[in-house]
């Protein structure tokens, strides 16, 4: 096998890595958000057809990858229809996301208020919780890498260094 072919095979394997997407109702989603063991939890609500959501997602996933060693957990909640599960998984596999991924099922209002009563339900939206499950910050609309970095400051395990960024943050 040539090195080029080997590289292509490895890359294809990475892209094709399966992502588990669970169709879940509010209690299961909030259990994943508030489960003990994380220093901070980022929750992002998105949809595959939502352009701004797709725009910010690479930064979100990169931020998660660079900070999970410091105790950051990420929970992605898609507002796609349940029959779009394969498409949701494909998008997340393309980003090599390996955190918790859900498609939301059930009442919108309870879901919105559980994440943030001041949120009106527009996509995308991102919420930051501390390790005790208390919400510390919300972004209704696009969030940037710098927003996230400022948000988690003080929450993550300072004894561990963040993984060196792979590329320069897009919105600096």
């Amino acid at each position: 096998m040539t090195s080029a072919l080997l590289l292509a095979t490895v890359m294809a394997a990475e892209v094709a890595a399966p992502v588990q997407v669970e169709v879940a109702d509010l209690p299961a989603i909030m259990a994943a958000v508030k489960a003990p063991g994380a220093a901070a939890v980022l929750v992002n609500v998105w949809a595959t057809w939502c352009e701004p959501c797709r725009e910010e997602m690479p930064d979100l996933v990169r931020f998660y990858r660079e900070h999970r060693a410091q105790g950051l957990r990420m929970v992605l909640v898609s507002a796609d229809d349940e029959d779009q599960r394969a498409q949701v998984a494909r998008v997340l596999a393309g980003l090599r996301f390996d955190g918790a991924a859900f498609i939301k099922r059930g009442d919108d209002m309870a879901f919105i208020d559980a994440l943030d009563p001041s949120w009106k339900g527009s996509l995308p939206a991102t919420f930051l919780f501390d390790g005790r499950g208390a919400r510390t910050q919300s972004w209704h609309g696009l969030v940037t890498y710098d927003d996230l970095r400022a948000g988690v400051s003080g929450l993550l395990d300072k004894g561990k260094k963040p993984k060196k960024p792979q590329t320069k943050p897009r919105r600096e």
């Binding site: 919108d108 209002m109 879901f111 919105i112 949120w119 009106k120 339900g121 527009s122 995308p124 209704h140």
Partner: protein, 206 residues
């Protein structure tokens, strides 16, 4: 500064502050009237005529729904919105559907597509362009679809989503907007005056 200029400058600042307050609290407060400037803003209807929310106000109440063409949430609810709009327009409710999205970023939300949708969906009520997104901003609207229902006194009686099941119309348990419309037509306060639903963020013009 002349007095007239000062007065208009103060009015502009007050108007901006009002719009900000509406957005920061998640929209107009229940019991308040639509901001006067927004209610009188002329908007282009799909039939080419210019009209304002004040122009369409009904004797029993007025329903303003911020919606659009491209958003999957708005599409899922579209037929139900049109049915409610057409039905209650015949019951003394003035109805207007408002598209505040910027078609330069979302071409599907352009005027011609609005005309096509109005025809294909059988809209019997105005579907207008909020050309600066200023009406949506003044209302504190943030998603599509988002409904604001005013009673016959012009006070906000209901604000929120359409019903409790966007995807499956036959599985709806609570018809929030329809119940609110029935209450307002009867001169009563809706039992559930505020709701929320997931939706596409309004693509405000900059």
């Amino acid at each position: 500064m002349k007095l007239a200029s000062l007065v208009s400058a103060v009015a502009i600042v007050a108007g901006a502050a009002g719009a900000w307050a509406a957005e920061s609290t998640g929209g107009l407060a229940l019991g308040t009237k639509a901001p006067d400037a927004a209610a009188k803003t002329k908007m282009k209807n799909v039939d080419g005529k210019m009209l304002s929310i004040a122009d369409v106000a009904g004797k029993s109440g007025t329903l303003v729904v911020f919606t659009c063409n491209h958003c999957p949430f708005a599409k899922d609810w579209e037929q139900r919105i049109v049915e409610l709009a057409n039905t209650y327009a015949g019951k003394g409710i003035g109805v207007v559907l408002v598209n505040a999205n910027d078609p330069t970023t979302h071409p599907e939300d352009g005027y011609e597509e609005m005309q096509t949708r109005a025809k294909s969906r059988g809209m019997k009520v105005p579907y207008v362009v909020d050309a600066t997104s200023g009406v949506a901003r003044a209302f504190g609207a943030s998603v599509t679809p988002e409904a604001f229902l005013f009673d016959k006194a012009g006070k906000l009686a209901y604000h929120g989503t359409i019903d409790d099941n966007r995807k499956e119309a036959d599985k709806v348990k609570v018809r929030y907007l329809k119940d609110a419309l029935d209450a307002v037509v009867a001169g009563k306060a809706p039992a559930v005056p505020e709701t929320k639903g997931l939706g596409c963020g309004i693509k405000f013009r900059s």
